[in-house]
């Protein structure tokens, strides 16, 4: 915590509590203890005091106790010598400020000083109130004054939208923008994103409300832009609104301060935007807002409080207007608002994919034939790659799509050209491990466009664009628009910003391709290095429980899901995107038996996830407590006792195996979520893992294997052979072309000197 901020907030709080005390004693003298106190049309008393302390304030006299409580929360201003974190003191002072501010505004309502008068203002929708002034009553509720507190009816309308996500959050703007133009742009940026905006405060007597009023910006409920008042104190209505949201929609009761504050931090995506100079009172009020988990973003130079704790991310961020990189106020406003969104962790929703051709999953399987082709990228005659990398939040601009190099207008019909698609992705929850997971989605995203066919990935990407799509106006930039929209809508939980650069200059494509390839290699190596010993979390996959109710896949870095579709990284990403979904982290915990792969955590999970059917799970054995299977397995591994080894049959192999059964008969034994020692369903890449039935002797136990596996995994299996110290190992394994019964298997193994013959008995 910055001592500077602490000092000023504590000083501001002390001053405000004293001011409130003075006002209260004056009011008590003039109006008496029993004068009723309330904000218009609310059932929540003075909401912040009610929420934070449980006090149901209805009369002036009751306010004394509240202020006494506020005074207790005050701390002395830090001395110059003392150097402590101050966070607790500052937050306490913030809370005291809120109580004092609400007290003052309540007294002002009694004196008819709230809602604040502002001649000429006409609100589009506002809190109805009984004016003490007969004239303004005639004018109606919306004329000649600002809004003051929000009533319960509006609270319900907006609160529900905040809670259900239709409204991403609210902004409390305090102060005055650099210029009227800037004020308007900031409001427009917020409105464009459907963010509710509350206006209050001033700088040297001039408020953003004045600025917007002068510019003819319509204010009021109907425009989601509500002017509270021109002093800082009226910001209290924003926190009253937040408190009441928790009371109404979070099921909290008055006095549940902790719960209300947590609720706001976790569910109400609000932030404070401080425009212009920040005085003591503003610091004090900001400290109050931080209690709610609402961060403060200032457009002036102030000390920042970056470490997180009370708020989700940073507490106080400074983004001086003059230093914002932008050509005009519009750009600056956009960046400032973007920053606010980032700091509060608001999720922006992108629903449409803005391209000139129809878009949807219905087009995923479309084929663009040579005759219909306008241009292709990749394939035989040109190079094409796609490369997704993680960037820092500050380094990229969300939604920016840049094409560097010529478009395809000069390329002949049915011609081809080089293209490199580089996607920069930034997000608070983004991890470099997710890069390949996200990168693989490009295929599906691009294929959704009508008239575009996407094949392959990485540097073997091949994209075809039909003449019809080109005629409809689909250009290179549209690839970027698709990716931007889809990454936001499908991966919003981990992606905050997406920027796309499309390169078409052959030189640049070549250069970047090299860079990309280095990264691909790095990622391959990273996958190879990602061992079970290197992590302390595995993931569950219960996706298949709909038909195999007691089956749980435990996915580790060295053992992918048996369907072959989910590896450890996929599960990790899936968990981050959908924390309540089918992939849950399993803390492996204490090792029970490292060889056979027993951990406390995996055993516990297997038991819970299988509803008690599986008691123990050996990750690396087929012989005891093997992993169960649903039915989606790519391969079945089965013990051949006569051969002292196992066979591996692929789903694609329909022939009879040495076990005397075909894949589909075996599937009945392997599936169903029941542990059957000796039979196991696996993903085919598990065969190449060093942990493949390592407890039982590992890969050299494989005595027979469907030829389709030998062929489709030739490279991977060769690596395994070399790892096992026998480059000819794969040739020693029989397949259905030479052996279809156990009687034929043994002589074949003898003839080919299969290592399993010399291994210890498998059981």
């Amino acid at each position: 915590m910055s001592r500077y901020i602490a000092t000023r907030a504590i000083r501001g709080a002390n001053a405000l509590v004293s001011e409130a005390e003075a006002m209260l004693s004056q009011a008590l003298k003039e109006r008496g203890n029993n004068t009723s106190v309330s904000f218009p049309n609310t059932a929540y008393y003075l909401p912040v005091i009610f929420g934070m302390t449980g006090r149901e304030i209805e009369t002036l006299g009751q306010l004394e106790a509240s202020l006494a409580h506020a005074r207790k929360l005050l701390h002395p201003v830090p001395s110059d010598k003392q150097w402590t974190p101050y966070l607790g003191e500052t937050l306490d002072s913030g809370m005291a400020t809120l109580i004092a501010a609400e007290t003052i505004e309540a007294i002002r309502y009694i004196y008819g000083l709230q809602p604040e008068r502002m001649p000429g203002v006409e609100l589009a929708g506002a809190t109805a109130f009984t004016s003490p002034d007969a004239d303004s009553a005639k004018e109606g509720a919306s004329n000649g004054h600002l809004n003051g507190a929000i009533d319960d009816i509006q609270l319900r309308t907006w609160g529900i939208q905040l809670v259900d996500g239709r409204m991403p959050g609210f902004a409390a703007i305090v102060g005055c923008a650099k210029t009227n133009e800037a004020a308007v742009q900031i409001i427009r940026e917020l409105q464009r994103r459907n963010i509710l905006t509350f206006l209050c405060g001033n700088v040297n007597g001039r408020s953003i409300i004045d600025q917007l009023n002068e510019e003819g910006v319509e204010l009021g409920y109907d425009t989601y832009t509500v002017p509270f008042g021109t002093d800082t104190l009226s910001a209290i209505y924003a926190l009253g609104f937040a408190t009441r949201s928790a009371l109404t929609f979070g099921g909290m009761k008055g006095g549940q301060a902790r719960e209300i504050l947590d609720y706001n931090r976790d569910r109400v995506f609000a932030f404070v935007l401080a425009l212009g100079e920040v005085d003591d009172l503003k610091y004090a009020a900001a400290a109050g807002a931080i209690n709610f988990g609402f961060p403060v973003i200032a457009d002036t130079v102030i000390p920042q409080i970056l470490p997180t704790g009370i708020t989700t991310y940073e507490h106080v961020v400074s983004m001086p207007w003059n230093e914002i990189d932008g050509g005009d106020d519009l750009e600056k406003a956009e960046k400032l608002v973007q920053k606010c969104i980032e700091v509060r962790g608001l999720k922006v929703q992108v629903s449409d994919v803005p391209v000139p051709v129809p878009y949807g999953s219905a087009f995923e399987g479309e084929v663009v034939r040579k005759a219909d082709l306008r241009i292709e990228f990749g394939g035989r005659n040109s190079r094409c790659f796609e490369f997704l990398r993680m960037a820092k939040l500050d380094d990229i601009t969300d939604g920016k799509v840049e094409v560097i190099g010529p478009d395809f207008s000069e390329v002949a019909e049915q011609g081809s050209m080089d293209m490199g698609i580089v996607i920069d992705v930034a997000g608070r929850q983004m991890e470099s491990d997710f890069e390949p997971v996200l990168e693989r989605q490009i295929h599906y995203f691009v294929n959704g466009a009508s008239g575009i066919q996407h094949v392959g990935q990485r540097d073997i990407t091949w994209i075809r664009l039909s003449a019809k799509a080109a005629e409809a106006g689909f250009d290179l930039e549209d690839f970027g628009k698709i990716l931007h929209a889809r990454f936001h809508s499908d991966f919003g939980a981990i992606v905050d910003k997406v920027a796309i650069t499309i390169y078409t200059n052959p030189d640049q494509v070549g250069e970047l391709l090299e860079e990309a390839r280095e990264t691909y290699d790095f990622r391959n190596k990273r996958l190879a290095d990602l061992t079970d010993d290197a992590v302390d979390v595995f993931y569950s996959c219960t996706l298949c429980q709909s038909f195999a109710p007691n089956h749980v896949c435990v996915v580790s870095p060295e053992r992918l899901g048996l369907c072959g579709a989910y590896n450890w990284l996929d599960c990790k990403a899936s968990y981050n995107i959908n924390p309540t979904g089918p992939n849950q982290p399993i803390k492996v915990g204490r090792v029970i038996d490292a060889d056979r792969g027993y951990w406390e955590g995996t055993n516990d999970y297997a038991k819970a996830g299988s509803h008690g059917v599986v008691e123990e799970l050996a990750m690396y054995s087929i012989m005891e407590n093997p992993m169960t299977a649903c039915g989606c397995f790519e391969c079945i591994v089965m013990l051949i006792p006569e051969a002292n080894g196992v066979m591996v049959v692929s789903r694609e192999d329909t022939s009879i195996t040495p076990a005397g059964m075909t894949f589909s008969t075996l599937a009945g034994m392997a599936g169903g979520g029941i542990q059957t020692p000796g039979v196991m369903g696996v993903g085919k890449f598990y065969l190449a893992s060093p942990k493949f039935i390592s407890a039982d002797g590992g890969f050299p136990r494989v005595v027979w294997m469907s030829s389709v596996l030998k062929e489709s995994m030739a490279a991977e299996l060769q690596i395994v052979a070399e790892r096992e110290g026998d480059a000819k190992l794969i040739d020693r394994i029989a397949d259905e072309r030479s052996v279809t019964s156990v009687e034929e298997l043994l002589p074949w193994m003898e003839e080919h000197q299969h290592p399993a013959l010399a291994m210890d008995p498998i059981f």
């Binding site: 529900i160 809670v163 239709r166 929609f249 979070g250 099921g251 609720y263 429980q545 109710p549 309540t580």
Partner: protein, 323 residues
């Protein structure tokens, strides 16, 4: 010979949920319904008492439903045109709970409005003292548009609002929380999806005693075995102590069975199908009784004869005589 009867002792129990609120409790209902609370599999009285009997709800619509079987139309007659009268007829038929379903349009084929929805709910609440379940037509926008004002207008009644699905639960849950109502969450025949929705709804702060889950079922002949097994599994998981499955189950055998060809079509069907009207009632009854055996806490029916028959079965199943 003495035999030790194997008895299950489960660590978990189903949440008890009360639907409806009397005047003292902040509503206007003359009767409330309490479901859940089981500590064993259905009707295992020799292991533990069954605190609340399964409840039979009757389904009615905001206006004469299009596409209802002629058998049902003939049975109910003119009340189908008047929600208030229909609700009373349901109560007279022996319903313990009313399920009011909104269609997309009103009787004149105009799209329903929030005002129409609120008036209809109020009319039904006035016509009957039974607790009420209110279900939107199932389109997120329209559900939200009508359920929020209905929730506001009936604060404190402990209505059950639905359907909450993964895509729209937030608005309905928020509306329920703000007005002391309950919600019905529906997931498509999958234990884990049911659990996930419950997690999401309770994450919003909705207490567990205000959630009922509809795991979806199929009618006899049309996938009942999926619903049946999902319900058995949910109940087992609940008893095993998995908190997010410990919510009472409400299923709709009436809706499911009366949309089958067996119940809907009377002519041009095989002779082996037998009498149309009786077949329709058998279809609904057999579906409902089977689902009660699987753990249903509420079954929603459409035909009054089915109600009588299912009620008789529940009476028998609840008879906890010593064995």
């Amino acid at each position: 010979m003495s035999i030790e009867i194997p008895k299950d002792k489960w660590p978990g129990a189903v949440q008890t949920v009360t639907l409806g609120a009397t005047a003292e409790q902040g509503g206007t209902r003359t009767k409330v319904v309490t479901i859940g609370g089981e500590q064993t599999l259905p009707f295992m009285h020799f292991e533990s008492e069954t605190p609340n009997r399964p409840v039979i709800a009757m389904e009615m619509s905001s206006s004469r439903p299009g596409g209802w079987s002629q058998v049902l139309q003939d049975t109910w007659g003119d009340v189908l045109d008047d929600p208030a009268k229909w609700a009373q007829a349901c109560e007279q038929a022996g319903a313990e709970l009313i399920v009011l379903m909104f269609g997309l349009t009103d009787a004149d084929d105009n799209p329903i409005t929030p005002d129409f929805a609120v008036q209809t709910v109020k009319a039904v609440l006035e016509a009957t003292g039974l607790p009420l379940v209110v279900l939107g037509p199932g389109q997120v926008d329209i559900d939200n548009a009508i359920l929020v004002p209905i929730a506001d207008a009936t604060k404190g009644e402990r209505l059950v609002l639905g359907l909450c699905e993964e895509g729209n639960y937030r608005t309905i849950v928020a509306a329920a929380m703000a007005n002391d109502h309950l919600v019905l969450g529906r997931t498509p025949m999958d234990v884990n999806l049911a659990k996930q929705l419950n997690i999401l709804m309770t994450d919003m702060g909705l207490p567990r005693d205000r959630i009922i889950m509809d795991p979806t079922t199929g009618a006899l002949g049309y996938g009942i075995e999926y619903g049946y097994s999902v319900m058995e599994r949910l109940r087992l998981a609940a008893l095993q102590g998995d908190a997010m499955t410990q919510l009472p189950l409400m299923v709709n055998p009436g809706f499911e069975s009366w949309k089958t060809k067996e119940s809907k079509v009377g002519e041009g069907v095989p002779d082996a199908w037998g009498d149309w009207a009786e077949r329709g009632v058998h279809w609904e009854t057999v579906t409902a009784v089977s689902l009660i055996e699987a753990g249903a806490d509420v079954v929603v029916l459409r035909h009054p004869d089915s109600l009588t028959r299912v009620k008789e079965s529940i009476d028998e199943l609840m008879a906890a005589e010593p064995v």
